[in-house]
Assembly symmetry: none
Homo-oligomer: 216 residues x 4
């Protein structure tokens, strides 16, 4: 076997594993853990059932790996959405709104919704998942708190507890979305999301800035 073909082969193996994990979240999200059957996941990934077991051992492990992969991806995207806050430029409001909008885009994506549903549903039966940083929502909150603390140091915000402020910012974004979506149902236009983001920033700034929030 040449180096190239070896590389191709291991590449193929990784691709297949990826395809299976991808199929897995899709099906798990659609059916739930218990209702999802491995046969269906295999079909969705266009492989035979034992291939799934060859690559991932177990239904439980399949679930874990699939959730972990999805959570990692989403978490990375969310972290990236915070970048604009590190050096916000002149317009803090705009930077916050931009971050808010991006976070809401992710939060409302089908993947994210499905992932949250799965974690809610099966978290108690897979406690190890809840310990993963990319799964624990406090990881994002802490990262946001870091940004807010810098903004406080540079005098752009006035706050005493960055963690609490970060929680509240996130709450003001996702809370209304979750509330309107009911339990994993209705989707939402980007316009609606933007309105929520703007309102969240309004409240946030009026609380954590010397001057009251500007009228709409």
């Amino acid at each position: 076997m040449t180096a190239a073909s070896a590389h191709a082969a291991s590449r193929g193996r990784i691709d297949k594993r990826h395809a299976i994990l991808d199929a897995a979240i899709t099906v798990f999200a659609r059916q739930g853990y218990a209702q999802a059957c491995v046969k269906e996941i295999a079909a969705e990934a266009s492989v035979a059932k034992p291939t799934v077991y060859n690559h991932l051992t177990d239904k439980a492990n399949l679930f874990r790996q699939a959730v972990e992969a999805a959570a990692d991806a989403l978490h990375a995207e969310n972290l990236a959405a915070l970048d604009g806050l590190t050096r916000p430029g002149d317009d803090l409001r705009a930077a916050l709104e931009d971050t808010g909008r991006r976070l809401l885009r992710h939060h409302c994506s089908e993947r994210s919704t499905a992932l949250r549903r799965l974690l809610h549903a099966e978290g108690t039966r897979f406690p190890d998942l809840l310990g993963l940083p990319s799964v624990d929502p406090r990881t994002l909150a802490t990262a946001l708190a870091d940004r807010l603390a810098r903004l406080c140091v540079t005098g752009r915000l006035r706050l005493t507890d960055p963690d609490r402020a970060a929680e509240q910012f996130l709450a003001l974004l996702t809370g209304p979305v979750d509330l309107r979506s009911g339990y994993a149902g209705r989707s939402m236009t980007t316009g609606e999301q933007d309105g929520i983001a703007r309102a969240a920033v309004d409240v946030f700034l009026s609380a954590y800035t010397g001057s009251p929030a500007p009228p709409e």
Copy 2:
């Protein structure tokens, strides 16, 4: 059969139905819909399996009825928590905090947590449940919006969109709780809950009152 005994009998029938529904949420909450087996529910209710079917037809219907009953009870409690806002007396802040605390008590209760978990997990497979007023979180939001609108009319608050303000108030309460609890894991002291409620009211008032929020 005398009228009295008929009454007693139907009373017994209702009691048994109640016992079954009670056992059902308990077990469903512990195991999830698919993993819960009717046998276990019957055992928890101390009846035989066919009795469950006699009273409730179906596993699906059993789930529906159990969830509906639990949701109704919780919803009533939540509505009651809003009462203090109708005529808040002098101290609006105190009234809001009290409402916040009470809502958080409910929100953090085991029953409520379990119910949300079940709705998240199975909502898509029981869309009819999501339409129930006591299940739809917008029902509570609307009721709160009503109170806030009155407060606006009486000049205690300054807001243009009571629905949005209500959403945000609820978000500031439950968002931090959910965030810290991870997905249905860690529980929370009442002290923590009270801190969250106070912080929520701080932010809320600073956004929706003329004067800036008082420092902590």
Copy 3:
């Protein structure tokens, strides 16, 4: 439910259990433990597969119970074959031959052959079975030794170690049978069996009678 019908019902339950155990040994004997599938056992017993599980929990337990029942039955028959030795009358040779013939009849029966095959095959995986008195071949040997000891006391035999003599008597009976049958294959006429029994008694008596047995 009347006492009679209750009795009938429990009788029916026992009958069904019996039918399942019966089907089980048949199939296990035909296929071996691992190759036998519960579905086939259920079919042989004319019940549905879950009924087998309702009555007997497990494939392993099914095996255990079936083997135990068969072993008990065979053991009882074998013990009965020893009865003629307790008071042998004038003709000791005839009594021994009769016992020998009866033991060989049992030993050559399809049930007994199948049972020995199963125990040989799966004994290591079901060590608890090997501890059962009706399974342990030493139980029969000891019972025979008891009879031989009585015959020694009454002067009909001359032997110093009844256990060893019993072992040898049984060996002289079953050894040639097993040898000729190959490993659970060829069956054997009763005439052949009788010849073996007579030869066994010849050897046994010449060792343990009139003419002095060699001192050890």
Copy 4:
């Protein structure tokens, strides 16, 4: 390819085949035919699964070849144990006891026990195996009968049916061993074996010698 390397290669091939067969009996003996999986045999032989198939076609064939090889080896040993009976010298009793002890050593070896277990368990599913001379116990019995017949001709024994006598000699040896071992369980000290061999010879000689067995 040179003749030497060809030779080396075919030697390597044979070695590998041997290693596989060796691993096979080990695993088959431990697990039984059906429970043994080819993967485990391959692992025990330190080769990949397809290599097993390359060399031995089939699980069934693998079993056959492995059993046949083991049976051949054991049979050769058993035949060798009979050598001392061809010209027994002065002390017939000693020669018989020596043969008996050696046969019991083999009979009690782990390999032999395992082989018998496998043949008992799977004999009916591999009838061709039962036809092999080294598997058929009558082969050894006949060889022994030959020796006994010679001893009869030379006046050392008095018997009319050498086949029957041979069967009985073997029965007196292996019967007590099998009886005490239960079904594939308890092992046995060489002292115990020697006692059984001596007792077997006692009985055998008292039956097949004109005069009673000579005292020790």
